[in-house]
């Protein structure tokens, strides 16, 4: 269990660590690392490994929006049923059921504002159970997946000290 937690912590920190590096850092055999990761994947606990991209550093428009969704349920339709329909769209990057004033918090990504707007009004809003959408376009991003997007602090320590 300890090795498993340590591996998860390491992969969440940097999913590009090689097996050899993970073994060194977690003090495990390479074989044990491979086995544990395979087990975590088979259990569905490890769902993927993705890069954290700061699009503003690239000359590329990437539009993202947080969308609040309100829905009505009936005897035949659960939150899960509605979610199943929404997550199928590749434009949707995250969908969470939340507490508070609305039901779902949805994140959407596209190449332009018109594309994202069109997707929400033409694909999401018409879903019969959805009663209201409120769209917030992301204007700037300062931290994603635990990674700060600033320039970082410079190491201003003395190069050699007691």
């Amino acid at each position: 269990m300890e090795g498993r937690d340590e591996l998860l912590a390491l992969l969440r920190e940097n999913a590009r660590y090689s097996t050899a590096e993970l073994a060194r850092l977690a003090d495990m055999d390479e074989e044990a690392v491979e086995e544990e990761i395979a087990a975590l994947e088979a259990e569905g606990a490890l769902r993927g490994y993705q890069a954290v991209v700061d699009w503003s550093e690239l000359d590329r428009e990437r539009v993202r929006a947080m969308v609040e969704l309100n829905v009505t349920l009936d005897r035949e339709t659960s939150y899960g049923d509605i979610a199943d329909r929404i997550v199928k769209f590749p434009e949707v990057t995250a969908l969470r059921l939340v507490s508070g004033d609305y039901d779902f918090a949805m994140e959407v990504e596209g190449d332009s504002m018109s594309e994202v707007s069109w997707f929400i009004s033409e694909k999401v809003a018409p879903i019969p159970e959805i009663t209201q959408t409120v769209t917030h376009y992301v204007m700037d991003s300062y931290k994603e997946n635990g990674i700060e997007f600033g320039d970082g602090d410079e190491d201003d320590r003395l190069s050699v000290s007691p």
Partner: protein, 381 residues
């Protein structure tokens, strides 16, 4: 006229660390494994508490002994973490870094001619501190075959039975050695038998990776003859805020406070606010930093093994202490710096017993550690 330095100042040579600092500064693209402080910054909530205290105009002196609220927080903290019971009114003194606390302790208990046994290799302040206090330093050289732990054998061999004071530092800078309760027991027995006062610098207490840290003051009959030092520099990454503390019997803390009130008055105020917050709410951050150091420790030790570099499994602080591939560790460290741009500190800087070894600090990001090990590999081949 020229101002002549006193004999006391002249008695102590400049630190050997300085030379390596200057060499490293002259070079470009240096990866430094020579740094004796964390690469993290203090937890944000601690920094914010310091900022808030400034916004509220808290810029006056505190009590000589430090803010009572901080002393109370320290009393609770050391009781919970290290099984140490000290009274916040009489037995705790907040100082400007652990360095000040050690200087105060030596000046408060050492009379001219007293022998101060110093377990070495060790942090560079103890021997000069003993000299400034008028004492005679006596090196007690720990051995690689004991993984640099302090043993009754080396104490006996060095003549420490006639000493008045013993200074020790575990988890240790520069070796990364730690001592278990079982290993401390015979040292405690030696101290009781030969009536030694023990100054135990435990500033790395929260960075022990293989076992829980044990303070020697918790061993039978040791509390009354021990002064424990700890601070916020290492575990909370607050080196520059200069805040430490001493724990000891009321009498000696009173004597230390007497010197402190005339020389320092009180430890700086702003860091005391940061420290209260650090103790009260930053356990998770400390644990996270400890996990990071531990990963790097494993990485460095496993790379040393691969490179055939002889190194005992350092288990504390953020240092490894491999044997220098060349007999002359100074020459090796200098060549490694010049040819590969990797700075390490030769062991002889840390007193007797350090020669022939290198202090490698892993308080550096993993990416840099990887690159440094690759450069070391190319240098060795």
């Amino acid at each position: 006229m020229t101002i002549e330095p006193s004999a006391r100042a002249e008695a102590v040579p400049p630190s050997g660390i300085r030379r390596f600092f200057e060499l490293a500064e002259q070079q470009e693209e240096v990866i430094s494994l020579g740094v004796g402080e964390p690469d993290f910054s203090a937890p944000w909530s601690a920094r914010e508490a310091a900022i808030a205290s400034l916004e509220q105009g808290k810029t006056s002196y505190t009590a000589n002994r430090g803010k009572l609220e901080l002393r109370e927080a320290i009393a609770d903290h050391v009781a919970a973490h290290h099984d140490l019971a000290y009274d916040s009114d009489e037995e705790i003194l907040i100082t400007t870094g652990v360095s000040e606390a050690i200087d105060l302790a030596l000046r408060a208990i050492v009379d001219p001619g007293d022998t101060v046994a110093v377990a070495q290799p060790a942090y560079i302040s103890y021997v000069p501190g003993a000299i400034f206090a008028g004492g005679e330093p006596l090196p007690v050289v720990t051995r690689p075959e004991d993984e640099f732990t302090l043993t009754p054998e080396v104490l006996t061999e060095s003549g420490a039975r006639d000493a008045d004071v013993l200074v020790m530092n575990y988890p240790n800078n520069p070796t990364g050695a730690t001592m278990t309760r079982e290993q401390l027991e015979p040292v405690a027995e030696f101290a009781r038998e030969h009536d030694l006062t023990v100054l135990s610098d435990e500033v790395y207490a929260q960075l022990s990776y293989e076992h829980e840290h044990t303070s020697i003051a918790t061993l039978p009959g040791m509390r009354e003859r021990t002064i424990v030092f700890n601070g916020f520099s290492k575990a909370y990454a607050m080196t520059g805020l200069r805040l430490g503390y001493a724990l000891g019997p009321a009498g000696v803390i009173e004597a230390m406070n007497r010197i402190h009130q005339y020389t320092m008055l009180s430890a700086p105020t702003t860091p005391q606010y940061a420290a209260i917050e650090a103790i009260e709410s930053c356990d998770d951050e400390v644990a996270e930093m400890r996990d990071q150091y531990n990963r790097r420790r494993r990485f460095v030790l496993s790379r040393f093994e691969e490179l055939g570099l002889d190194c005992f499994p350092a288990s504390g602080a953020f240092y490894a202490f491999p044997e220098s591939p060349w007999d002359d560790s100074d020459a090796f460290a200098e060549a490694l710096l010049e040819e590969e741009g990797v700075a390490v500190v030769p062991g002889d800087v840390f007193g007797e017993g350090g020669e022939g070894h290198l202090r490698v600090s892993y308080a550096t990001g993993l990416g840099e550690l990887k690159e440094a090990m690759a450069r070391l590999e190319s240098f060795l081949s």
